[in-house]
């Protein structure tokens, strides 16, 4: 193994400390405590947990809903990507961006918006009721159908974005070659285009599956009688049954990691180097006229509007006076009171301050940390170590938020070998730590992929001109990696702002985030106030994205 340059040594130390404290110890501690009872090793927790029919049912429900969510998201996302990639029409960019929006919508806010629009007392149901003079609500937003509908709505962007990117990568020359060789349009689609899309489709499928396995707010609010694993863990912990919660957490973690490993194994066999192609790839010319294009325009515009409806509903209800909206189709009276409350009430503003502070801390830490990891992973060194490092970084992302929160709570909920008498659980810092752990893989990924594209000759040239590592980092690497790093960091910040799954398990009054405030308004049936929280949160996210856009250009 080539010797590590001395400047790398501190980076290596930091990485080892962070990963040991944040990933290795909590995970090991979680698994160990699921295998112990009164200081003895035993599998009894698993045998007893797995013999309960309710647990088996929840495993079945989690996996089943996740698989169906993959199918549903694919059915929406893939055709939509084709519509936006293959056709050209006015306003296309706006609609294309709109179609990706559910991706940054916090799951809890999305759930609230969905209930307000499609719930049994939502606007759609009330419209139907008044139109057809029904006595009762025409449907109830409960159970499998409701969950699937919501998952499809929030998760199809994985398929939409990745399929679009995959389509842009395919050389249009390949389709032409196939045509000349005698393949008709349909044959070109299933023999040339789809096989080349498989890596993108698999990645999208995996993302959807894992997000759906980790889904919590939707099952909580309209799962009805459907019990999923995340919900089971939450209720077990609320009941104080730590052993059950821990054991179920390990099961959930194993399923998620298993899906990831299965995917990686398959991905290896399906990778074909685009480098096999020489010369500039031809880009597919978009279709700008014809009947197919007219249909495409109508479909994509209609779809974008449907997508926007839940958010429009949220906006509408945020102006509704709480307690006045009873049987009418639309809220009868409108007021600014909800916003006044959300923006001035100390209870509310405290939640916003907490969330902003904790998300910023986590995002900035993740930004610095990502350079640390990316430098190590893209630099010299043995392969095995680099792979281990990448894998450990990925673990908190692959595990559902519930699992991460429980493992941290288990490991640092009592005096431990690692922190001495300091107990992290119950302090303000537990949430920033969890946010950092959960979302830093996003930033690492962004920075790492940008660094891998950097030509190492650039740094060597800078070194030959006499630049030390600090100058090389700030003058060469940072400016070139900057756009990707900023995009990744802002994404981490945005997601942390709306985090609910992990927060609900370990928050304390000192660090109560926005999502908890929304949930408590919802519990008190203050729909207007909950919607107003959601709108402000979306506004913060929108502003962050604009800032990100500016920041990305700033360095270049």
């Amino acid at each position: 193994m080539p010797r590590l340059p001395s400047s790398r040594l501190p980076l290596l130390l930091i990485s080892i400390v962070v990963l040991t404290y944040g990933v290795v110890y909590p995970t090991v501690e979680l698994v160990l405590s699921s295998l112990q009872q009164d200081g003895r090793w035993t599998l009894s927790h698993y045998t007893s947990v797995l013999s309960q029919s309710i647990v088996l049912e929840s495993i079945f429900a989690s996996v089943g809903i996740s698989l169906l969510s993959v199918v549903g998201s694919a059915l929406i996302g893939i055709p939509l990507a084709f519509l936006f990639e293959r056709f050209s029409f006015p306003g296309q960019r706006v609609f294309a961006a709109l179609a990706a929006m559910p991706l940054v919508l916090p799951p809890l806010v999305g759930t609230v918006a969905f209930i307000l629009l499609c719930g049994e007392s939502g606007i759609l149901a009330r419209l139907m009721q008044s139109a057809f003079n029904l006595q009762t609500a025409p449907w109830s937003l409960q159970g499998w159908t409701a969950l699937l509908l919501f998952h499809t709505y929030t998760m199809y962007p994985f398929f939409y974005i990745l399929t679009g990117a995959g389509l842009r990568r395919i050389d249009a020359g390949l389709a032409e070659a196939a045509r000349v060789l005698g393949a008709n349009r349909a044959q070109v689609m299933y023999r040339v285009v789809l096989p080349q899309l498989t890596p993108s489709l698999l990645a999208a499928g995996l993302l959807t599956f894992m997000t759906s396995m980790a889904s919590f707010s939707a099952p909580l609010l309209f799962g009805g009688s459907v019990r999923v694993l995340t919900l089971e863990i939450f209720t077990a912990r609320q009941r104080g049954d730590t052993t059950l919660a821990v054991t179920e957490t390990v099961i959930l973690g194993v399923i998620s990691l298993g899906a990831l490993l299965l995917f990686q194994r398959y991905e290896g066999t399906r990778k074909f180097a685009a480098a096999a192609m020489k010369g500039a790839p031809r880009t597919q010319r978009r279709i700008t006229r014809g009947r197919a294009r007219t249909v495409a325009v109508i479909l994509s515009v209609a779809f974008s509007i449907i997508l926007f409806l839940p958010i429009a509903t949220l906006l509408l209800v945020s102006f509704a006076r709480d307690g006045q909206w009873t049987t009418q189709t639309f809220p009868p009276t409108y007021t600014l009171a909800n916003f006044t409350k959300v923006l001035t009430d100390p209870y509310a503003s405290e939640a916003f301050t907490n969330s902003l502070l904790m998300s910023s801390v986590a995002a900035v830490a993740a930004f610095v940390w990502s350079f640390c990891v990316a430098t190590l992973v893209t630099g010299k060194g043995s392969r095995a170590w680099k792979r281990l490092l990448s894998l450990l970084v990925l673990v908190p992302w692959a595990l559902p938020g519930t699992v991460v929160a429980i493992s941290i709570a288990e490991a640092y909920g009592k005096p431990s070998l690692f922190l001495g008498s300091f107990v992290l659980v119950g302090t303000f810092w537990i949430l920033p730590v969890i946010y950092f752990l959960r979302f830093m893989p996003l930033v690492v990924r962004a920075v790492q992929s940008n660094m891998e594209q950097l030509d190492p000759v650039l740094e060597q040239a800078a070194a030959s001109l006499g630049a030390r590592w600090w100058r090389r980092l700030t003058r060469i690497t940072l400016p070139l990696v900057w756009p990707g790093a900023v995009a990744g960091t802002l994404l981490a910040f945005v997601i942390a702002m709306g985090e609910y799954v992990a927060s609900v398990l370990v928050f304390v009054p000192a660090n109560r985030p926005v999502s908890i405030a929304i949930a408590s308004e919802l519990r008190n049936f203050n729909l207007g106030a909950a919607a107003a929280y959601g709108v402000v949160l979306i506004a913060i996210i929108g502003i962050s994205m604009l800032v990100a856009d500016k920041l990305e250009r700033w360095h270049s």
Partner: protein, 379 residues
């Protein structure tokens, strides 16, 4: 006849001399194509005969690739028609034309191995498994890649990928092969080697080829006939030697090799076989054999002569088109030297084997042999 299946098998029975007058295999009639505001191809007509290796030569952006793509059916012409074996092929889908095509970047399917790539067109024709295997093996043999069937595309070198692309195109046994700058991604040595093999292969199989390139040396070496395209227009069609020695148009003379372009006006000719011109620079009188299209009197036009045809010597003025000049520059390039002279403001370039004892600054004589001087049509 089904364009997919009905070809005479050109591998086994190469087409002999036509006893009766046959229509050209491929003919383009007044093809035009616009992309937005730019005219890519303007009113192009040409015929390709059976068994011919036909070149489309021109600088980049001249419309040659667009023309080839229209032949393949990958672009539809805005106006004009394409006919193949006397039948109208305009608007026929590319997969129904049955031509073989080799792309510039090869366009090999990265998710398929060598065998599957070559078999692609045969599968589309629903050939039996045994026939497919036989024909793939035969095609790989022809491009000298036997035993490569199981390889992945990214395991092959650039030259091997190129051969697979050719094998894939000939496996469907097309009567017409289209090449879009197929050698431009190879390095120089390999390019010349492959060039020879390619020509040999096409001749042996008795195929007809349309070959697009911007490399004149390549076109001269490969093609029986060449059409030169500049700015979307077809400027001149002919055998390589004709094009080189008698360019008829200014743009062709500019594009093909080095040329001395002399601006001149026509004087009233004394007889029908010789025309007389006066150069604008230096006011020399030049005589040349009267071409079919004479330039109008007293209008500026261009005369062209290749540097290797310009004669430089000492001694007294003798013969036609001979006048004194001063030697300005000698560039030694091994076997030959390029000599630049100035004849009262008329700058000329000559390619000579030895400068014959002349040196920079010397006075000398320049002679432009009457048979090598050509009049260009101004377009």
């Amino acid at each position: 006849m089904d364009p997919l299946l009905g070809h005479r098998n050109p591998w086994k029975e190469p087409i002999g001399c036509a006893e009766t007058v046959m229509p050209p295999l491929l003919s383009l009639n007044n093809l035009s194509k616009r992309f937005g505001q730019t005219s890519a191809v303007v009113d192009v007509s040409l015929d390709v005969e059976r068994g011919e290796f036909f070149g489309l030569l021109g600088p980049s952006g001249c419309g040659k690739t667009t023309t080839l793509r229209m032949i393949a059916g990958l672009e539809e012409p805005d106006t004009g028609t394409i006919s193949y074996e006397g039948r109208n092929f305009t608007g026929v889908a590319p997969e129904r034309r049955g031509f073989g095509m080799v792309f510039q970047n090869y366009a090999l399917f990265p998710h398929l191995n060598v065998f599957e790539n070559v078999a692609f067109g045969l599968k589309a024709r629903h050939k039996t498994r045994t026939e497919t295997a036989e024909r793939v093996a035969a095609a790989l043999d022809l491009v000298q890649l036997p035993g490569y069937a199981g390889r992945r595309i990214d395991e092959l070198s650039g030259g091997q990928q190129q051969r697979v692309a050719i094998a894939r195109a000939i496996a469907i046994e097309p009567a017409l092969l289209l090449f879009d700058e197929p050698l431009s991604n190879l390095d120089v040595g390999l390019r010349e080697e492959t060039r020879g093999e390619l020509r040999e292969l096409v001749t042996r199989l008795g195929l007809t080829a349309v070959y697009v390139t911007h490399d004149q040396e390549e076109a001269f070496a490969l093609c029986d006939r060449i059409a030169v395209m500049v700015g979307g227009h077809l400027r001149q069609t002919g055998k390589p030697r004709e094009l080189y020695e008698q360019p008829s148009q200014l743009s062709v003379a500019r594009f093909l090799g080095r040329n001395n372009l002399i601006k001149a006006v026509r004087l009233s000719s004394r007889n029908a076989t010789v025309a007389e011109f006066k150069t604008l620079e230096g006011e020399h009188t030049l005589r040349l054999r009267a071409p079919e299209h004479l330039a109008p009197l007293n209008q500026p036009c261009y005369l062209a002569i290749r540097p290797e045809h310009v004669e430089i010597r000492k001694g007294p003025v003798s013969g036609e088109n001979c006048f004194p000049a001063e030697l300005r520059e000698i560039n030694f390039a091994g076997a030959t030297s390029t000599v630049r002279v100035d004849a009262k403001g008329l700058a000329l370039e000559a390619l000579v084997l030895r400068p014959n004892g002349l040196d920079v600054g010397d006075s000398c004589l320049v002679q432009l042999p009457i048979e090598h001087l050509s009049l260009l049509q101004n377009e």
